[in-house]
Subunit: 286 residues, 4 copies
C-alpha cells in the first residue's frame, strides 16, 4: 500500500544579480522543491502522466528568478503557488530555500559573510500557504553566567555540579508564521536579534532554560510568529587539568570537544496560536 | 508555552571488543540518546531536579556495553527501557544507533567495510517499545533498464524522453517493525537483500516505481515489517555530447552531476499494519 | 631505507579565555605539532627512547596556553623552540595553527565570525625559525570587470570568449616572512586587506592575472613578506539559457556550479628574497 | 617576480560504461589536470595566447574517455602526453585521478564498494613520465599486538606505558614507480595486499615501526616501486574507566576519539632508486 510520498528537485543553486546604476546586488540561494499529489500511477505502474519532471522544476526556478527574487519567503510563495495552481495532479508543494549571506566590498564586489544560513520553508496546498523561516549555523559562546547543578544523581553519574562553565552552541532555529504576507526581511531580522540578544543576557541554569528564553524572546518581539523550534547542541568546553604540570587553571584553558555532545531540542508556542497544518511537513498527519 | 521537547547525549562513540579464544569480534557504534518527560521546570526556571545529565547518559552507554552489545536493536531496547524505567521524570526514551561495518582480516585484525551504515531507532514510553531499522549510504547504479517518458510537458519543460538511461541512487531506508523481539540481524539482512535485489531486477519507468518495488520487496520478504520509508536521490548521470569533437557517444561517457538532484521519497505500508505510535518520533502528535 | 619522516599530535583544539575586568577575550585555536629528528630506531626496531609521545605534545600545548597565547605566530614560535631546544633527539619542529574568528557580542559573549580561518605555520631547526601566515576560505565574487578571451583554440575547444563574466573564488593564501619577530597581527591585517582590496579593484583578463596582482599587493604593502603562494579555485557561475522559456537573460540569472572547477595556483616572489629554507616543509630537500 | 605556477581543471567527474555482450563494466573517475609552462604573459598582462582553457581540458578528458579508459595510470599517461606534446606553451602536465570502487551485482547493476579510493598522479615534462599510485581511506584496526613504552618522559608527560592497546589508522599511501609502462592493475593490487598484510601481521611497538614495515613490504613485493610515502593518523581508542560504576574493563569497552590524533608520516626508499624528478610535484625544486 502506497503511503505518503513526495518528489522534487533538490539543491537548485541560483545566483541572481541586480545590476543597478549605483551598485549591484546579489541573491545567492539553494532552492529545493518537493511536490505531492495524485502520484500513485508512477509508483505502481511507472505511468508518468501526472509527473512534472524534476528537470522542469529546476527550469522553473531559473525562469522565475528572471523576474527578480525579493525575499526567499516571497520567492518560495511564488514557486509553491505556481506548481499547485498550474498542475492538476500536484496538490501540495513545499519550497525549501537556503540563503547565503554576502558582504558588499564595493559597487560590484562581494565577500561571503560567514556560515550562518537563512532558511525558509513554504508549503501550499491550493488554499493555504504556510511560511516557516529560520537560521542554521549560528555559533554562540558565553564565557561565564552559566551554571549546571541540582540534577539527578544515579549509579552512573560522575559529573560534578558547576557554578561557572562555558556555554556554547550552534543555533538551529525555525519559526512558524501565522501570516502569509509580511515584511519578511524585517521580521527575520527581529527574530535573529531576539535569539542572539537573549542568549547574551540570560544567566543560564541549564541549556534548556536558555532555549526557552530564546524562543520566548522571538514570540515577544515578533507578533506574527506562532511557534519557535530550536535545536541546540551543547558544545562542551572542558577545563583542562593542568595540575600534573604544577599549574593551576582558573577558568582559562579549555578543550572544545567534538563528540559526544548534549543535544537540547524544544518548541515554544504562542498560546492560542493557529494549528501548524502543513507548516512543518508535506505529510498531513505529521 | 512550552511545546514538545527532548534532550540527550548525541553521538556517543563506542567500540566493544569480544576477545574470544579463536578470534576477536568488534562492534563499532555511534549511540544517541534522547529523553523526554516531566521537564518543564528546567525550561521555565532552570531547576534541574528532574534532569538526568547527558553526561550520565553517556556513562550509561559505556557501562551497558560492558555486559555486551549484541545487535544494535537489542542494545537500544536495553538502554531505552533503563532510562524510562529507572527515572520517574523520564517518560519516553529514543535511542538512535549507527553501526559501522568491518571486515575481519585475521584473528584480531579488521578493515572498515565501506560506508554503508546500519541504523536503528528504538523508542519506549514505559509500556510499548517501537523498533525501526534501516541503512544509509548504499549507492546503487544500473547502466540500463531505466526509461523516463510520458511525463507532463509545460512551458518550462526542456527534458527529452529517454528509453535508456543510467539509474543511480544512494539508498536511505528505514523500516518499522510490528514486533519488539526478533532475530534482528537476520531480519536486517533479509531487508537489505530485498532492497538490493529489487533495485537490480526492476525494469524502471521512474525512480518512484523502483522505490515502490523496493519497499514492497521488504514487506514481502520480512513479515515482521509494517512500513518502509525510502529516500532516494536521483544521482543524475548525463551523457556527454562529444559531437563537437567529431565523436559519437553510444551510451559510454557520462558526467555524474553533484547538484541539483532529484529526490524521491515515499512510504510503503502493509495493509492492516499497526499504527506507528512513537516509532518515528518522540513527539506523539507526529 | 628510511627517508624523510615526522610525527606529532594533530588538531589539538584549545580555547583560551582572558577574563579581564572590563571584558573577556578568547583565542580559539586548532594546533598541530610535527617533529623530526633522530628517529630511525622507532621505525626500524620499535625502540622509543628518542620519542616524545604525541600525548605529551598535546599536554605541552595546553600548559603553554596557561601562560597566554598572544598571536598564533608567537605561540607557534614558543612551542617550536620548546620541542627542539628541550629534546636532544628532536631536530626540527613545525607548528601549524588554525585560528577561528569570533565577534564580541558583549562583555562575556561571542559569536563565530564566519568561516575564514587564519593559518600559521612555524618551523624551527634549532637555529633558524621560519614563519608563514595565511588564510583559507575567503570567498570573493565580482559581478563584472572580468573577461576571458584570446586563448588557444584546439580540436577540443568549445568555450566562447567573453567580455563580461562573474569572477568568484575561495582564496587560500600563504605568505612567508623574512623575519621571525614582528607585530604579527598588524602584518596579517595588512596582508588580508591587500588581498581583498586588489581582488576588488583589478579589472581581470584572467584569474592568473588577478592572482598575480593579489600576490604583488601583499609584497607591496608588507615589506616583511618574501613570498606569497595563492591557490584560487575558479568558482564558475554559468549564465542560464532562458531562451527556451521565451526569456532573455541579460547577466541576471546564474548557475553556480560545484564541479569541475578551474584551479589556479601561483607564487609571487620578492626579488632578492632569502631562500625559503624549511618555511614550507619539514623536508629540507623540498 | 612570478614564481612556480600551474593551472588546470580540477575534479572532472567521468563515468565510462563498457557495454559488453555478457556484462557491462564501469570506470568511475575524478580527474584533475594541472599544467605549467610559458605562462608569464597571462599572469603579468592578462594576454591569454598561451593558455589552453580549463574548459578545453575538461572536454579533452571526456573525448579521450570515448576511446576507453583502461587503468587510471594509462589514462593519465595519455592525457599528460597529449597536453604537453600538442601545445608548445605547455611544458609540464600533471594528471591526478581518483578511482572509486564498485562491486558488480549483476550483468548491468553495481554497488559502491566502500570508501577506499585508488589514487594516481602522472607527471610528464615532454621527455620523462613519472607515475605515482596510491590509495586513501583504508581504515585498519588491530585489537591487540600493539605496545607503546620506553618513550621520553618530561615535565609534560602523563601517558602511561602500555603493553596492549588497540592500533587503528586510516592509511594514506602513495608509491612512486621507477617505470612508466607496466601491468598497472596487477602492481597496484600487489602493493595493496602488501600494505594490508603487513599491518595485520606486524607486532607493533610504535606506529612508526608499523609504517616502516608496511612501506618495506611494498618495496619487497613490487620491484617496480622506488619509494613509498605513508601518512598514518593514529586513531586513538581509549579504554573507558568503568570503575566508578563498580565495573572492571578488561580490554572490552573503548572510546574512539575524534581529535586530537597522532599523525605519523614517513618515506621508505629503495636503495639505489632513481631520483624522484617531478614525480611528487610540478615544481621542480620541490
Amino acid at each position: 500500500m502506497l503511503g505518503p510520498n513526495n518528489y522534487g528537485k533538490a539543491e537548485v543553486r541560483v545566483l541572481r544579480v541586480d545590476r543597478g546604476a549605483d551598485k549591484h546586488e546579489i541573491a545567492d540561494l539553494n532552492v529545493s522543491v518537493a511536490l505531492s499529489g495524485d502520484l500513485a500511477a508512477t509508483h505502481l505502474t511507472g505511468e508518468n502522466d501526472n509527473v512534472l519532471p524534476t528537470d522542469t522544476q529546476k527550469n522553473t526556478v531559473y525562469a522565475f528568478a528572471r523576474d527578480g527574487i525579493g525575499s526567499p519567503e516571497s520567492f518560495g510563495l511564488r514557486l509553491a503557488r505556481h506548481f499547485v495552481d498550474s498542475q492538476p495532479s500536484i496538490e501540495r508543494a513545499r519550497i525549501g530555500i537556503e540563503k547565503y549571506a554576502w558582504d558588499q566590498n564595493d559597487r560590484h564586489s562581494f565577500a561571503r559573510a560567514g556560515d550562518v544560513v537563512d532558511t525558509t520553508a513554504v508549503t501550499y496546498d491550493g488554499t493555504t500557504a504556510w511560511v516557516v523561516a529560520g537560521l542554521t549555523g549560528l555559533v554562540l559562546l558565553n564565557t561565564t553566567n552559566s551554571e549546571f547543578s541540582g540534577f539527578i544523581v544515579d549509579r552512573y553519574t560522575t559529573l560534578a555540579p558547576t557554578t561557572d562553565r562555558i556555554l556554547a552552541t550552534s543555533v538551529d532555529a525555525e519559526w512558524r508564521y501565522s501570516v502569509d504576507d509580511a515584511d519578511w526581511p524585517a521580521l527575520r531580522e527581529f527574530a535573529r536579534q531576539a535569539l542572539v540578544g537573549k542568549f547574551v543576557t540570560t544567566y543560564s541554569y541549564s541549556l534548556q532554560q536558555t532555549l526557552y528564553q530564546m524562543g520566548q524572546a522571538v514570540l515577544d518581539e515578533v507578533p506574527e510568529v506562532a511557534e519557535v523550534r530550536l535545536s541546540l547542541p551543547n558544545r562542551h568546553h572542558f577545563l583542562v587539568d593542568l595540575a600534573p604540570f604544577g599549574l593551576d587553571n582558573p577558568g582559562e584553558v579549555y578543550f572544545p570537544a567534538d563528540r559526544p555532545y548534549g543535544l537540547i531540542e524544544g518548541t515554544v508556542l504562542r498560546e492560542g496560536a493557529p494549528p501548524p497544518g502543513l507548516a512543518w511537513s508535506l505529510r498531513s498527519g505529521e
